[in-house]
């Protein structure tokens, strides 16, 4: 993954109020936290709020950090809480299902069986395709989206994702599978329509 994961920080220095060490931490984690905010909230203003609140919160709580989890896990936990709190605050009607998906329910079965996986990269990642991808991610129910972002975008392990979100590993796995299936279905619908369009053009 990114270089962030390989950097280490001195907890003692951070607790002691070492500004240089804090600045280094902020620079190392700003990008992933901003990205998480952007993908959860969907706009740069809210992403900036998540970013600022996360580090303000961290700054006042270094003393409580016990070192049982890594500093990265700890920061992501603050960031994901900030993002979820902001989401709740912004919603006029709170849809509880978004936060508590019924994990016991069966994962919906795939319905589109078009193999678009061999389409050339530049077509898969054209401007229009990127937009479709982004829209699909935004359509993910929030609880699934958060798991998906941590695991598949940030490359955090199942175990750490469970720790960050205070979920069991089984819950994380279930939500991850659902998120991936949901995205696959959306992209399959999108790309199969594109393939049909192109065939018509060629034929």
């Amino acid at each position: 993954m990114s270089e962030t994961q390989t950097q280490s920080f001195s907890i003692d220095a951070l607790r002691a109020g070492d500004r240089a060490e804090f600045a280094r931490l902020v620079d190392a984690y700003s990008a992933p936290i901003y990205r998480l905010g952007l993908k959860m909230l969907g706009n740069p203003q809210d992403a900036e709020d998540v970013l600022q609140n996360t580090f303000l919160n961290a700054l006042t709580h270094f003393a409580d950090f016990e070192g049982r989890s890594s500093i990265s896990t700890w920061l992501y936990r603050i960031a994901s809480n900030e993002a979820l709190m902001l989401l709740r605050r912004k919603k006029n009607t709170v849809n509880l299902d978004d936060f508590q998906p019924e994990d016991a329910e069966e994962t919906p079965l795939p319905e589109v069986f078009v193999d678009w996986s061999t389409m050339p990269e530049d077509e898969l990642l054209s401007g229009e395709s990127k937009k479709a991808l982004d829209t699909a991610v935004k359509k993910l129910p929030e609880a699934l989206r958060m798991v998906f972002l941590l695991r598949d975008i940030e490359g955090i392990s199942i175990r750490d994702t469970a720790e960050i979100l205070n979920l069991t590993e089984t819950n994380v796995k279930t939500r991850l599978l659902r998120a991936r299936m949901f995205l696959r279905e959306h992209l399959s619908t999108y790309y199969s329509e594109r393939l049909t369009r192109e065939e018509k053009k060629d034929g």
Binding site: A31, L51, P110, L125, L177, R184, L187, S188
Partner: protein, 87 residues
């Protein structure tokens, strides 16, 4: 088209994520691979799911922290004197 799926397919889909992440024991992988050989639908689902994960991992430019956002963050945290140079 869900009626084209056998029970085996449903079992496979249940462990698809873990299979992709290489988290399944060898004997289960072997079972899955045997099923995949004879089941086109599952092969398509596997290939397209893998591709989906690849695609979302391609970074998008607009996700980087804009310089003005970084500046405001550093000021808010009273880290003004560490704004330059970056990194």
């Amino acid at each position: 088209m869900a009626d084209h799926l056998h029970n085996n397919c449903q079992d496979l889909l249940g462990s698809l994520s873990e299979y992709i992440d290489g988290e399944l024991p060898a004997d289960l992988c072997h079972e899955i691979e045997k099923h995949l050989e004879g089941c086109e639908n599952c092969r398509v689902v596997l290939n397209t799911t893998k591709r989906t994960i690849d695609l979302v991992q391609v970074p998008m430019e607009e996700e980087a922290v804009p310089e003005d956002v970084r500046e405001r963050l550093f000021k808010r945290l009273q880290l003004d004197s560490y704004l330059h140079p970056k990194g």
